[in-house]
Every structure is written in structure tokens, then in C-alpha cells.
């Protein structure tokens, strides 16, 4: 019995959300907003993983297992990322990634 919503639709949504997040990373100046965009990308990846896990391949939900690990890593990454942003904020009260070019060649 075919499901009502095809797999391709879920993947398409995931793709759109992923590229929205990507655009956010490359576009916004505020570091916290960039972090948020990264979370969007991760979510999109999760969606794709779960979709494939449920609709494609074997029934042992391996894709979902991977999603659990993505949760873990995302959480850790946000924590550390924000710690970095906060300590950078201490030196200059403007968290503006445009000004982080100390590694300029």
C-alpha cells in the first residue's frame, strides 16, 4: 500500500530547509544567528535521515539511531559555539563576524 506522501516530498522539504540554513550561514553577520542557521541545517539533515529510515531500506531504524547521535552532537556544538561567542563578546561588545579577520593573509 503506497503512503500518501511520497518519500521525495520529504526529501525536497529537507533540501529546501538545508539551503535556507546554508544561505543564513553565508549571509548573516550576527554570530548567534549563524548558529541558529546551522541548527536549521542539522534539522534538515535529521528529517532526511528519518524519512529514509522509515521509508527505505531495512526495518531496524538505523537512520533514526544516527539521528539520535546527531542530536547529541548538535547539542554539544551549540554549547561550545555559544561559549566561544560569549568569550569573544568579552573583548568587543559587538559580535560581528565581519570583523573576525585576524587570520588575514
Amino acid at each position: 500500500m503506497t503512503p500518501a506522501v511520497p518519500l521525495g516530498a520529504f526529501i525536497a522539504v529537507s533540501a529546501v530547509l538545508f539551503f535556507i540554513g546554508c544561505a543564513g550561514v553565508l549571509t548573516r553577520r550576527n554570530a548567534v544567528v549563524i548558529l541558529m542557521s546551522v541548527e536549521l541545517m542539522l534539522n534538515a539533515a535529521n528529517l532526511a535521515l528519518v524519512a529514509f529510515s522509515r521509508r527505505f531500506g531495512s526495518t531496524d531504524e538505523r537512520g533514526s539511531v544516527f539521528v539520535v547521535f546527531v542530536f547529541v552532537v548538535a547539542a554539544a556544538e551549540v554549547a561550545v559555539g555559544l561559549a566561544i561567542v560569549l568569550s569573544a563578546y568579552r573583548t568587543r561588545p559587538v559580535v560581528n563576524v565581519d570583523e573576525a579577520h585576524a587570520m588575514r593573509g
Binding site: 546554508c22 553565508l26 563576524v97 565581519d98 573576525a100 579577520h101 585576524a102 587570520m103 588575514r104 593573509g105
Partner: protein, 644 residues
């Protein structure tokens, strides 16, 4: 054959001939390595002892050859071996080389002993006795070699040592200049030698004397002429003939023993030896001999005229050497190589004596070399005076001194060979020679002392210096008798085996003819002496008046025909300009290219550097751009647009 007979055929000393060269080389190493710190003044006796041992061994070898040892080649090792062609480090022991060995080692030994006294107070004592035996070693290589290439090694070696010894007192600019000048002019000659070697190799396929001389007939006369002219050019440089002579007077900047040994007795004779050794080639080359004879005669006359007006005692001797070398080449040119070698040997003795005697005078005068400041030294230095008088007489070719026999044979050969002009030049130059040597000796030893301060301090030289003078004086007297009776003496019967491997017709001219020619030469000499004494002893005519009367001529002679200035303008300035141009090319174009390349890299670098904005956002963007590229490529493959 019994052992004694075998020994007689090969000689008891001949197999050890390489030791003759080894002793000076050992002295060089010992003095060079240990002289400065540990040996100090012991370097002198070490070097002299080594040369003395070589001299004794040379006498042994000479006796072997006299007693009939055949021409032997004593090979040390095979140096170059390519297919059929080989060049060995080997010694050719035959009458010619054994005579040269004697002359070189004996005169070197005497000069070494003399130098121990002369250089006693010099700071570079050990250095002197490092280079001097090295020179002797190189000269021995030159003389002993059995092929042109090994000879060239010695040839270059003596050139090097000449440079080192002329520039011995290198703190002063004149010796530096003179050393460079000598070396560069030698080098021009060496170019000639090299071309001679190359063509010899191309034509004969070998550089070995014996092999080449065997095959002389296969070469056509034009090519042979080229070879001989090339070798003669080399000889011109080394033996200071026109046009490559002007280094020799400048070489007087070196210590007097150096002038005596290198620039009178040995190195400058290398050119004569080269041509003599190559007699089979030169005989077959025909017209080239005229060139040699003419150059020799012209040089003899030219140099003698300059010697007439020189005021530095060493320079008089230097031009005299050039002149006498001219005589030797004159002999070679008229087909009398025996006479040339004969004169080489006698000249070695009396010219070395003249130089060493001059050194004795200079030493006594506290370093003064200008004859205008000397005078009356006869009373103060009798030994030096008498020995120099003997040498002067030999130079003026007064019988029965050595110079008479050898020089007379040369001019006689010119006449008998059908070259009356060359004969006349030779005789006239003989007169000039007698004049200038009389003038030099008178100004130095007779008359009133012109500088009393120096005169008061003058003294006879120590025995280390005077004994060699005495020995050389004896040689100057006796050496002539190896050529007695004329045209039929010991040397005339001894040398031909080495010079003419294919045999040679011997002409024995009538005694009356010989006597007449001799009388003519002696007369010219006596006239020269008479005029000299008249002008300087009795002031009739007064030299100063003559100088004024012949003003322009005198100026030209004193300035040595302005040859040095001419060479400077023509060649030296040209070379400097060329060198300047080459430097400019190197600095601007070659370095310019290198710098431009560096600049281009720098430019590329700073261009590429703009990629490193330091802004991570840009880097992220470039990652995404890369993803796009991958997608495009993948899509292209998948769609079949792009082929793998």
C-alpha cells in the same frame, strides 16, 4: 750480457731518474706544511739539500748517458689511456734531457744556497723556500717529460711559480702588477702551445715525442708549419721574445735569486728547449725556421739597444737576458740547435752569476738598485767584482770564456747557413752587448762613489753568497770547453742522438773559416768594450753630452720604445672595456632576469594572497562554490555532456 753490460745500456742511475724530481717536491711539501710554525730558517737548508741531492743524481744520470746508455723512457704510470692513444707520466732520458737536468739542478742548487744568505732577514723566508723547490720540480717535469702534454704540465707549473715568486713581496703594488703581467703574457703563449698540441694530436694521433717524430713524413708542410708556429708562439711567451717579452724586465720586481734562477737560467730557457726538442718537426717545416731566426735576431738587437740606457742594474741584466735568448732562437732558426743548447748552458752560468752578483751589490747597498748611485765598489767587494768581471767577459764573448765559444758558434752558423743579414745583426748586437756590460760594470765598481752614505755601509757579502758566485765563475770559464774544438766538441757529438733521431749530415767547416768568423765577432766585442771604457772611464765622449746630442733616440730607448704604453692602450684597455661590458651584461641582464623572475613570483604570491581574507565566511562560501562545481561535474557526467 753481463750485469755490468746491462747496467751500461740502461744506466745505474737512470731508473731512479724520477727521484730527481721527487726531492724538490718533498722539500716543497715539508717546507709548505711545516715551515711557518716549526721549521723557520731550517727551510733553507732543507730545500737546498733536496736540490743538492737532485744535482748529484743528475750528474749520475748524465754520466750514464755519456757512457752509452741508450735513450730510455722511465714510466711512472699511465695517465691517460683511451684506446690507442695514451699519455704517460714518463721521463725520456736522453742526451738532451740529461744536459738540461745538469744545468737546471746545478744552477738551482747554487741559487738555493745563495738565497739562504740573501733572504736571511726576510719575513717570508719559509715561503720563499716553499715556492722555489716547487719551481724546480715543475721545471724538471718540463725537462724530463716524454710527451707534450706532460711537458705542458711542467710549463704551466713554472709559469705559476714565476707568478708566485715575482709577486713574492706582494704587499707592494709593483710586484703584484708585474706578477700578473708575467702570468697573462705567458698565458697568451700557452694558447699557442695548446694549439700546437691539438694539431699535433689531430695529425699524428699521439703526443709522445718519439712516436710523433717517427711519423714526421706523413704530415704536409703547411700543417707542420702551423704546428711549429703555434709552438713557437708558446716559446715566445715563455722565453720573452718579441712580441711577448715585456714581462721579463718587470719581473725584476721579484727577489734577485728568483731573477737569477727563473728569468736567466731555467724558465726562460723552456721555450728554447721546446723548439730544440721538436727539432724533427721544425726541420721538416722549412720556412718556419726563417721566421724563428728573424724573430730571434730582431729580439736580440731590440733588447740590446734598450739595455744601453738602463739605470737599474737588474734591468740591464733583464734586457740582456732577452737579447741572449734571441741569440738562442737565432741559432734554432738557422738550423743549429746544438749551438742553441750550448749557448743555453753557458748563458745559464754567466747570467746567473751576473744576477747573483748584482744581488750581492744590491744587498751591500742596502737595497739600492740604481747604478747612478753606485761606483767604486771594487775596493769594497773584491770577490763580487772579480766574479762579475768574469761573467761580464763571458757575456761579451771574450775568449777563452764560455760565452765566446757558444755565441760565436751561433753567429758562425748563421753565416755558414747562408743568412748574412742575420749574421751581421748578431755581430753588431755582440758589440752592443759588450758595450752595455762594460758600462754596467764600470758604473757599479769603478770610478768615484756617487753616494757616499751608501758607499760607506757597503761590505762584501757573506760566504753563503760568495761561494756560489765563485762556483758559477768557474763554470763561466770552463763551460765553453764542452764545445771545443768548434763544431767538433763533446757536445757536438753528444747531442745529435737526441735531436736527430733519423740521422743528420754533419758539415765540418774549414778551420780557417771558423777562425775568420770568430775574429770578426771578437773584434766587434772589443770595439764595444773600448767605446764603453772610453766613454765612462775617460769621458771621451762624455756620456752626458752623447745623451743630449741623441736626445730623441735616447728618450725612445729609455722608454723602451713605448711598447708598454702601446700594449696598455691596445690590449689592456680593450680587455678592461670588454670586461666592463661583460660585467654590465651579467649585472643587468642576467641578474635582471633572475630578479624579474623573483618579482614575478612575488606578484603571483601577493595576488594569491588576496584569497586569504582571514574571514571565515568567505571560506565557507568557497566551500559551497566547490560543492556547486562538483554538482555541475557530476550532473555533466550523468547527463552525458562531459566525458570522463
Amino acid at each position: 750480457m753481463t750485469a755490468a753490460e746491462v747496467a751500461q745500456v740502461t744506466g745505474t742511475f737512470v731508473p731512479f731518474v724520477w727521484l730527481i724530481a721527487a726531492f724538490p717536491l718533498a722539500a716543497f711539501f715539508i717546507n709548505g706544511l711545516f715551515g711557518k710554525r716549526w721549521l723557520g730558517h731550517a727551510t733553507g737548508p732543507i730545500a737546498a739539500g733536496a736540490i743538492g741531492a737532485s744535482a748529484l743524481l743528475s750528474i749520475g744520470v748524465f754520466m750514464d748517458v755519456v757512457r752509452g746508455a741508450t735513450s730510455t723512457t722511465v714510466t711512472l704510470y699511465r695517465w691517460i689511456g683511451v684506446g690507442d692513444f695514451s699519455v704517460n707520466v714518463a721521463a725520456l732520458v736522453d742526451p738532451l734531457s740529461s744536459v738540461m737536468l745538469l744545468v737546471v739542478t746545478i744552477v738551482s742548487f747554487l741559487v738555493h744556497v745563495y738565497s739562504i744568505g740573501y733572504m736571511e732577514h726576510d719575513r717570508g723566508f719559509y715561503r720563499f723556500f716553499t715556492w722555489l723547490p716547487l719551481f724546480v720540480f715543475a721545471m724538471l717535469i718540463l725537462v724530463l717529460a716524454d710527451n707534450y702534454l706532460l711537458m705542458f704540465v711542467g710549463w704551466e707549473g713554472v709559469g705559476l711559480c714565476s707568478y708566485l715568486l715575482i709577486g713574492f713581496w706582494f704587499e707592494r703594488p709593483e710586484p703584484q702588477y708585474a706578477a700578473k703581467k708575467a702570468f697573462v703574457m705567458n698565458r697568451i703563449g700557452d694558447w699557442g702551445f695548446t694549439i700546437g698540441m691539438i694539431v699535433t694530436f689531430l695529425v699524428f694521433g699521439s703526443l709522445n715525442f718519439t712516436q710523433v717524430f717517427e711519423k714526421v713524413e706523413i704530415a704536409e708542410q703547411g700543417v707542420l708549419g702551423l704546428i711549429c708556429l703555434a709552438f713557437f708562439l708558446g716559446a715566445t711567451g715563455k722565453s720573452a721574445q718579441l712580441p711577448l717579452y715585456s714581462w721579463l724586465p718587470d719581473a725584476m720586481e721579484g727577489p734577485t735569486p728568483v731573477s737569477a734562477l727563473i728569468h736567466a737560467a731555467t724558465m726562460v730557457t723552456a721555450g728554447v728547449y721546446l723548439v730544440a726538442r721538436s727539432t724533427p718537426l721544425f726541420e721538416a717545416a722549412g720556412p718556419v725556421l726563417i721566421v724563428i731566426g728573424a724573430v730571434g735576431a730582431a729580439t736580440a738587437l731590440f733588447a740590446a739597444t734598450i739595455a744601453l740606457v738602463q739605470t737599474d742594474i737588474k734591468r740591464v741584466m733583464a734586457y740582456s737576458t732577452v737579447s741572449q735568448l734571441g741569440y738562442m732562437f737565432l741559432a734554432l732558426g738557422v738550423g743549429a740547435p746544438i749551438a742553441a743548447i750550448f749557448h743555453l748552458a753557458t748563458h745559464a752560468f754567466f747570467k746567473a752569476l751576473l744576477f747573483l752578483g748584482s744581488g750581492s751589490v744590491i744587498h751591500a747597498m742596502g737595497g739600492e738598485q740604481d747604478m747612478r748611485k753606485m761606483g767604486g765598489l771594487r775596493a769594497k767587494m773584491p770577490l763580487t767584482y772579480w766574479t762579475m768581471l768574469i761573467a761580464g767577459g763571458a757575456l761579451a764573448a771574450l775568449p777563452p770564456l764560455a760565452g765566446f765559444w757558444s755565441k760565436d758558434e751561433i753567429v758562425g752558423a748563421a753565416f755558414l747557413g747562408g743568412f748574412p743579414i742575420l749574421w751581421a745583426v748578431g755581430v753588431f748586437t755582440g758589440g752592443l752587448t759588450a758595450f752595455y756590460v762594460t758600462r754596467a760594470l764600470w758604473l757599479t765598481f769603478h770610478g768615484e762613489p756617487r753616494d757616499h752614505h751608501l758607499y760607506d755601509h757597503a761590505h762584501e757579502s757573506p760566504r753563503l753568497m760568495t761561494v756560489p758566485l765563485i762556483v758559477l765563475a768557474v763554470g763561466s770559464v770552463l763551460a765553453g770547453f764542452i764545445g771545443f774544438p768548434p763544431e767538433d766538441g763533446f757536445i757536438h757529438r753528444f747531442l745529435p742522438a737526441a735531436l736527430y733521431p733519423h740521422g743528420h749530415e754533419v758539415h765540418h767547416p774549414q778551420l780557417a773559416v771558423i777562425a775568420a768568423l770568430a775574429a770578426a765577432s771578437v773584434a766587434a766585442g772589443l770595439v764595444g768594450i773600448f767605446i764603453g771604457l772610453s766613454m765612462y772611464a775617460r769621458r771621451r765622449p762624455d756620456p752626458a753630452a752623447v745623451r743630449r746630442a741623441a736626445g730623441p733616440i735616447h728618450r725612445v730607448l729609455v722608454n723602451k720604445y713605448y711598447v708598454d704604453e702601446l700594449l696598455d692602450r691596445r690590449f689592456v684597455d680593450l680587455s678592461k672595456a670588454f670586461a666592463g661590458a661583460a660585467w654590465a651584461f651579467d649585472a643587468h641582464i642576467i641578474d635582471g632576469i633572475v630578479n624579474r623572475i623573483g618579482w614575478a613570483f612575488g606578484l603571483a604570491g601577493s595576488g594569491a594572497r588576496r584569497l586569504q581574507t582571514g574571514f571565515v565566511g568567505n571560506y565557507a562560501l568557497s566551500i559551497v562554490a566547490g560543492v556547486l562545481a562538483i554538482i555541475v561535474l557530476y550532473g555533466g557526467y550523468a547527463a552525458g555532456i562531459l566525458r570522463r
